[in-house]
């Protein structure tokens, strides 16, 4: 049988009333926007994990496990790119995450797309392209999105 419990609001009792100061939220936002971290090496580690996951798949042949491993690394890259002032990485990762989110497993074509993504992301890092408005970034994102859209159309048909 289900039981409904109304917990004591101990958190409210501790913090009291008044909400957050507008100034505090502005300062917190500034902290996010001015956060300086060398994201290149961090991104490279995630990209290496993607490569390793693909190599593991080629020996264990478990597409569902690979799907989970890829999505885990890719969502970290998408999230952290913008948080660490590298929106170009978020933009290019977005295309592949969108595609994977619409699936439940991977096949050889997806592997090709992820490998192309991995190379493109490495180009952005090595060229120190941080802005998603950069021409190189836009060209790479555009190409990858076209391939992803073609694949989506194919599986819908």
């Amino acid at each position: 049988m289900n039981k409904i419990v109304i917990p004591k609001n101990t958190l409210k009792a501790k913090v009291g009333n008044g909400g957050f100061n507008k100034e505090s939220i502005e300062k917190a936002q500034k902290t996010i926007e001015e956060n300086v971290v060398d994201f290149g090496p961090i991104a490279k580690e995630y990209l290496l994990k993607i490569k390793t996951a693909i190599a593991t798949y080629k020996s264990d042949n478990d597409p569902k496990a690979l799907y989970g491993r890829l999505l885990d690394q890719l969502t970290q890259l998408r999230a952290q790119g913008t948080m660490f002032q590298y929106p170009a990485i978020t933009a290019i990762t977005d295309t592949v995450v969108d595609l994977l989110d619409s699936l439940k497993t991977v096949d050889d074509k997806i592997l090709e797309i992820v490998e192309a993504y991995e190379q493109s992301a490495n180009i952005l890092i090595m060229s120190k392209v941080k802005s998603d408005n950069d021409k190189i970034c836009q060209a790479l994102v555009g190409e990858l999105r076209t391939v992803c859209d073609k694949y989506k159309k194919k599986i819908k048909a």
């Binding site: 049988m1 419990v5 958190l11 009291g16 996010i32 890719l74 790119g81 948080m83 995450v97």
Partner: protein
Amino acid sequence: MSYNFSNVKVLIVESSQEMFKLFKNVLAMLEVPERNIDAAYSYEEAFKKYCNKRHDIVITDWLDNPDSGILLIKDIRMHAKSPNKFVPIIMTAGSGHFSRVIKSRDCGVSEYLVKPFAANSLAMRLTRVIENPRPFVMSDNYTGPERRIKDHAFEGKNRRVAEQSVEHE
């Protein structure tokens, strides 16, 4: 007057030190004392720290070891050793895809925050868990906030009353 976090302990579970530092700095700007913020980088470390310190808020990443963040939430909500099954848990993830949100909801998350995030979005979620905590459902296979979020009262006969008991903690 604003919230006073001087006695509030926060556990941040992240996949990297850089993300933890960013969260800690953002929370510090929101007036959470840095000494009250603990870090964990894995499911095991997080659950151990939570059991030892009984934090008031848990903010956890999905974690890049498949589903570790989900396992952590399940253990906080269901494990016999969990010191407080009702603690507010905010899940942070790099994907806001429907399937991920539903998976988090079904293991008992209180709020979901998609990264990259704005400070205001974090403050809003914290405000919600402080001001409007949902009643908890406790059953054999689920313990967590009630999953139906109602924005208006149900007008028909409430037949669920007979099926459920309501308790105040």
